[in-house]
Amino acid sequence: MAAYSPMAAKKAAQAETPLAKANGDLNVLSPKDFASDQEVRWCPGCGDYSILKQVQTVMPELGIPRENIVFVSGIGCSSRFPYYMDTFGIHSIHGRATAIASGLKMARPELSVWVVTGDGDSLSIGTNHFVQLLRRNLDVQVLLFNNEIYGLTKGQFSPTSREGIVTKSSPYGTIDHPMNPLALALGAEGAFIARTLDRDVKHLRDILKRAHQFKGTSLVEIYQNCVIFNDGAFFPFTEKETKSENDLFLEHGKPLVFANGKKGIKLYGLRPIVVDLDGQVSLDDLWIHDERDRTKASILTRFFDMPGSEHYMPRPFGVFYAEERFRYEDAMLDQLNAAKQKGAGDLDALLRGKETWTIA
């Protein structure tokens, strides 16, 4: 069989999917049309409310008929999400949403498939399916709600919980070293990797739209505050007093600047350094963000230490990495079509096989 051609696939990947073409009555859809009749039952103050609202807000702008959108989730607080969307939806089992979404997308590439998952769902019980989806690069949006805790089971530490955190299952403090989700995703050959926050609604909406536009698996890690079991886990990045000092917003082609323009990041070889923009250093000397640079993206995922720690760097938000390559579903269809071109299957010929004999 001929080897798969990445060039041809890339071309196919860039071609517009038929469903992206808006039809007439889509214009009348509003965020409300995407809200189901089910009562939303997250805890008051949960970060999930904001994410739900932003997703519902963005949906009408995408130009996709509601019936062509499917939300797939696993288990956890975030995984209740599909029930609140008036689209198609599956609330599945723990850790498997990415696998179910993969099968659905292979079967029906024309659908817009969204996975809603959490740090327990995709970085613990479902890590295998999560990384495999990323490397296969099916055109699926993965919204990973990271609250660094198990909420639905009432407060055990998760794979992203910070070292030493005291929870119900770690009364002496956790001795687990936390996982770095975006470094994992990049290591798994993820093609689109981004991070945003539940409390920065504009940024969240922008990233959701970028994720949708990307032809391939787009991973969006969303820092999401659990008010009950891990309140304030991301306050250094979300609160007025600290966020400007700690947040680094990435923009393609723009220098890495934070702290209200007072600081920037320079690269010495592969070593990033924070510099004061006090006139001595010009913006041109700074690290210019390039979404297609995997090495730089890899360094950015390593900006993972908390404020005050030895190797601290500001936490990046935005699109770390985005580079289109062939999508699994396109390659699958290409193979099917190539085989059919040589002659569609004939069931009678198949059943008969090559060698037969007749008894009179």
């Binding site: 599956i90 609330h91 089992i93 179910i100 079967a107 659908l111 399916h129």
Partner: protein, 627 residues
């Protein structure tokens, strides 16, 4: 080519069993399958049993590395691979040591002398060479210098010594073709096809095949030549088929007949992988095969495809069934069609991966948490893998449910002639997706049921059907989340009733052999079919009052099964496990069904079954006489 020299005597045989045995690298499986193909085309009834080690290349020359292929063919009906063989072909000492017990008294041994040198004797822990220590006196032994003769035949071919030696199995095959008066043309065609891209290798193999044939013709190594006349089989056109291949074909057939694209999510596992391999070839039928990252990913992807409106399947063996259990529960409660093929093997845990067993029956029925009933069907022969799988697909689509189809390593790898159906002869599979709705239509109810309690299949992309499904208990009809106590009990019973309703769509249980009432009913399921059938037919002809019924539908069972059971004084249930169906029969029908179990990774032999059945019949007689 059919000209027979006058020298050897020609004797006729009704049936013959040949066992090809050698190192797993000796090509015995290929030799066996080629002999099978030729013999099937010749018109004999045939049944085969490959028996190979779990290791791909176990240490050469050792007992652990012996690979065997047993072929049973005849001019009469053949339902088993044969208890003991008439001819044992051995490529080395280990193959002889491992299989001598399977050779009939006075049977023939064809030994490749190359495999009986000092090194091979040592590897097989043989103190003396059995070929000349007198231990084989009761057999007809033919020692042939296969390797040397093969190399002589290929002299000047330009092949390396190692490549030449690889063809030695074809020499043996040629000898067997001569011995049993078979034509070589099918194998020649097969070799040309197999080595299409390496014509020199094809040519070498064909040359050696002919050399083996001619060697017998000219040297009179065998004094007698045998003929096995074609069997009197029902008229029609036949092919030969392997169980896993039949399973794959059934999925394609169900896809074609239903008009649904086929999606297979699978993870490699012995002895089920061949279904994945087979389906991966047939992309021209639009078959999507997805080799997943694990068993769970495989079934979950299949669930995703089923949700999207495909005919979805997942294929596995016992360990994979364990892993898929949670996802099966999800598919069950989502009420999506899904065909789950379990090619059973010896367990527990890794167990005996390449050996057969029927030990997943309880797993199929009960191996999920909560009240989670699923329809279960079982295939009883290689060709029946086709019909059982097709029926599993029919039930899945009609009832919107996962269906488990049990086969096992024995029938999955076994072959037999198949009077294959035409596509027109296959039952129709009609599928209707839920229709689109307008704004003004009543709200769509995804769990509103038809009279058999099946729900609509509402696939994404259908306007107005937006709805959510999930693993949490659902409210009747709306499918919305419901924790209501009464609703849960109602839904649990509804799901059970739906599965029970499958019984309304299946044929009544019929008798395979014997009368509908009498002294002893042998009730079997799955791959024990051929051995039981042969044993029971032989006992009937010997004058015993015994009958055989074989269960295709394990859950639900045919509604007349009780009637049949109550018509017999006794029921015996032979199984390749520690007693599973027998428990169901006892529980369901309150009869003291007798278990008869074998847990050795091997099928029942006919004689084992006959002994057991006559023991039961005679014991009953003597009790009666005592009264």
């Amino acid at each position: 080519m059919n000209e027979v020299k006058p020298a050897p005597r020609l004797e006729s045989r009704d049936e013959v069993t040949i066992l090809f045995a050698g190192d797993s690298g000796d090509g015995m499986q290929l030799t066996g399958t080629q002999f099978t193909e030729t013999t099937a085309i010749f018109g004999n009834d045939i049944n085969t049993f490959p028996n190979y080690p779990a290791e791909i290349r176990a240490p050469a020359g050792t007992l652990a590395g012996v690979s065997g292929f047993q072929v049973h063919f005849g001019s009469k009906s053949i339902y088993t691979p044969g208890d003991q063989c008439d001819v044992l072909v051995v490529m080395n000492v280990a193959a002889l040591k491992a299989n001598l017990k399977n050779l009939k008294n006075g049977g023939m041994i064809i030994a490749s002398s190359d495999g009986f040198d000092a090194k091979n004797l040592d590897l097989a822990n043989a103190k003396t060479n059995p070929l000349d220590d007198g231990s084989l006196a009761q057999y007809q032994v033919h020692v042939v210098d296969v390797v040397r003769l093969t190399k002589l035949a290929l002299e000047g071919s330009g092949l390396s010594s190692k490549d030449m030696e690889r063809s030695k199995n074809m020499f043996v095959l040629g000898m067997l073709y001569w011995l049993y008066s078979r034509p070589m043309d099918a194998t020649i065609r097969g070799l040309q096809e197999k080595f299409k891209k390496k014509p020199d290798i094809a040519e070498a193999n064909i040359k050696v095949l002919k050399a083996g044939f001619n060697y017998c013709d000219s040297t009179e190594v065998f004094g007698t030549r045998y003929s096995v006349q074609p069997a009197k089989m029902p008229p029609g056109t036949y092919r030969h088929i392997m169980g896993n291949q039949a399973t794959a074909y059934a999925l394609i057939a169900a896809s074609q007949k239903s008009g649904l694209p086929l999606f297979l999510g699978s993870y490699p596992i012995t002895p089920a992988s061949d279904i994945l391999h087979e389906l991966a070839k047939h992309k021209n039928f639009g078959v999507r095969t997805f080799q997943a990252e694990d068993e769970i990913g495989a079934i979950c992807a299949a669930i995703g495809a089923a949700y999207g409106g495909h005919l979805a399947a997942t294929t596995t063996s016992g360990p994979g069934m364990d892993l898929k259990a949670e996802a099966m529960g999800l598919a069950l409660t989502l009420e999506l069609p899904l065909v789950i093929i379990d090619v059973q093997r010896g367990g527990p845990s890794t167990g005996l991966p390449t050996k057969t067993e029927q030990s997943d029956l309880m797993l199929a029925l009960y191996g999920r948490h909560g009240e989670a009933p699923l329809p279960v069907v079982a295939a009883y022969s290689p060709e029946d893998c086709f019909y059982a799988t097709y029926e599993a697909a029919r039930i899945a689509l009609q009832f919107m449910t996962p269906v488990i189809c049990l086969t096992d390593g024995y029938i999955a790898n076994g072959t037999e002639p198949w009077k294959f159906p035409t596509s027109a002869e296959l039952p129709e599979l009609t599928v209707k997706f839920a229709a689109p709705r307008d704004k003004d239509d009543a709200k769509f109810l995804p769990y509103k049921r038809d009279d058999l309690l099946s729900r609509p299949w509402a696939i994404p992309g259908t306007k107005g059907l937006e709805h959510r499904v999930g693993g949490i208990e659902k409210q009747h009809e709306t499918g919305n989340i419901s924790y209501d106590a009464e609703n849960h009990e109602f839904m649990t019973k509804l799901r059970a009733e739906k599965v029970a309703n499958v019984a309304k769509t299946i044929p009544p249980q019929s008798m395979d052999s014997g009368r509908e009432k009498g002294k002893l009913l042998v009730l079997g399921w799955g791959s024990t079919y051929g051995s039981i059938k042969t044993a029971v037919r032989e006992l009937i002809s010997e004058g015993y009052d015994i009958s055989h019924a074989h269960l295709r539908y394990i859950n639900p069972m045919p509604s007349n099964l009780g009637e049949i059971i109550y018509n017999f004084d006794q029921v015996v249930v032979p199984e390749l496990n520690n007693g599973q169906l027998v428990r169901l029969i006892r529980e369901k029908f309150l009869v003291p069904a007798i278990p008869y179990n074998k847990i050795q990774g091997m099928p029942f032999t006919v004689s084992e079954l006959k002994n057991k059945f006559t023991e039961i019949l005679n014991a009953k007689m003597s009790t009666k006489e005592a009264k």
